[in-house]
């Protein structure tokens, strides 16, 4: 597997060399079936010699399906305990690291709109998968997922109706362009790039679980550098900084919801 990951890095500059091995192996096993390859070295041949292959392989290696307001209590905690502090800043910058197809960024934008903060906020939403970023930019989701999204939104303390923020078009829900205008979707790798802006809140959910500890440390170190003093970091509900080299750089803020604050 190491050879394949080195080859991908050399040829395409995507760095999976420090991803958590167990999940990566499962995903590569699925890719072997998809590409009808018997071994990883056969897949390596294909990836290097057929340029149609890598974008599809990238989907196997990176794509996460999320929901609007996934884990409603996380958003409720942000709404009740983080936004009141953020509201004291004249302008706000948020970073959704590993935004996949945009659900988390739109959820934050909707919440900020409901709390009257969206017009002074800029959301950076980054990912390494350009196809995911394109989908995120379009902000179009299957209409049949909206029932769950609406339920989540209500549990997250949503003030209005979620339908105020999208319109139905055929079998799709198209997110309100006013939300999209406040979000900058951009290509950025937590494995190879560095910080690009000072931000007040970073939301990085269910991304670090796919990294090994060294890469987690790199990413969390970058978050620490990017955050303003006393800025906020939100992780996935089963992620923690407990095993991180940067644990002492943050203090628990809402431990139940995995929201941390940059230490003094």
């Amino acid at each position: 597997m190491r050879l394949l990951l080195e080859a991908i890095y050399e040829a395409y500059h995507y760095d999976f060399r420090q991803y958590a091995v167990a999940s990566l192996k499962r995903r590569l096993a699925q890719a072997l079936i998809r590409f009808d390859c018997r071994t990883l070295s056969a897949l390596q041949e294909k990836v290097l010699h057929d340029e149609q292959v890598f974008p599809i392989l990238l989907e196997y290696l990176t794509v996460q399906v999320s929901d609007l307001f996934r884990d409603p209590l996380y958003y409720l905690a942000l709404r009740q305990h983080v936004l009141p502090t953020l509201a004291t800043y004249p302008s706000l910058k948020l970073w959704v690291a590993g935004c996949s197809t945009g659900e988390e960024a739109y959820s934050l934008a909707i919440m900020l709109a409901e709390e009257g903060l969206l017009n002074r906020t800029l959301i950076y939403a980054t990912d390494i998968n350009s196809e995911s970023l394109r989908k995120a930019q379009n902000g179009v989701y299957p209409l049949d997922r909206l029932r769950l999204f609406t339920l989540n939104h209500r549990e997250s303390g949503g003030k209005g109706s979620l339908s105020d923020y999208y319109h139905a078009s055929g079998q799709s829900a198209v997110m309100d362009p006013q939300l999209r205008n406040r979000i900058t979707f951009a290509d950025h790798s937590l494995a190879t790039d560095s910080t690009f802006s000072e931000v007040h809140l970073i939301s990085c959910r269910n991304v670090l679980i796919y990294f090994n500890r060294e890469l987690q440390d790199r990413a969390v170190g970058m978050f620490h550098e990017a955050l303003v003093l006393r800025g906020f970091l939100g992780l996935g509900s089963k992620e923690s900084l407990r095993f991180s080299a940067h644990a002492e750089g943050f203090v628990d803020y809402r431990p139940e919801e995995k929201i941390y604050r940059k230490a003094m």
Partner: protein
Amino acid sequence: MALDATYVGDRPIDVILIGGSAGVLEVLRVILAGLPHALKIPVVIVVHVPERSPALLPQVLQPATPLPLKFAEDKEPLAGGTIYVAPAGYHLLLETNRCFALSIDPPVLFSRPAIDVLFESAADAYAGRIMAMLLTGASADGARGLASIHAAGGVTVVQAPQTAEAATMPAAAIALFDPDFVLSPPDIAALGASLSPYPRSAAWTRRTRNDPN
């Protein structure tokens, strides 16, 4: 690592894995109650639970055993004598450095956590030094994973289908390969109770195998 090895008969194991679904809580209580209180190796449990269900498993299972019992966390090193449970909504995997990893990859056979995901990652990370148990359940999840542990040289235990509230899961495993043990819950508990820090003769393992009682 060898210092903390535990033996099933003459076979050394570093971890016990348990998977089950419908009707499994009662069986788990019986098995956990039978484990030696001085157990030196970790136990990892995957039970199918709905994604949005309240996180009650540790509370439900802890009364059955004096060993500490908790949800597994991402990157957490496995500690001997501790029982870990997979959290709802995540797959639980074992890494070669003997830490847990979580993932939100799609459900396998409609389940997340899936037993196959734990078992297959363990077969890879722990080679054959595993004892894995597949219990009652109404899906085929776990059968393939148990077969991979068998192929890696691990000890495989399947609940006898006629003793299972839902026989699909154990029957699926038995259809795939010939497990080391096919036992009723009390006999699985007795097997767990017999775990020893010292190897016993291979004859002991053979005698216990597929005990009809």
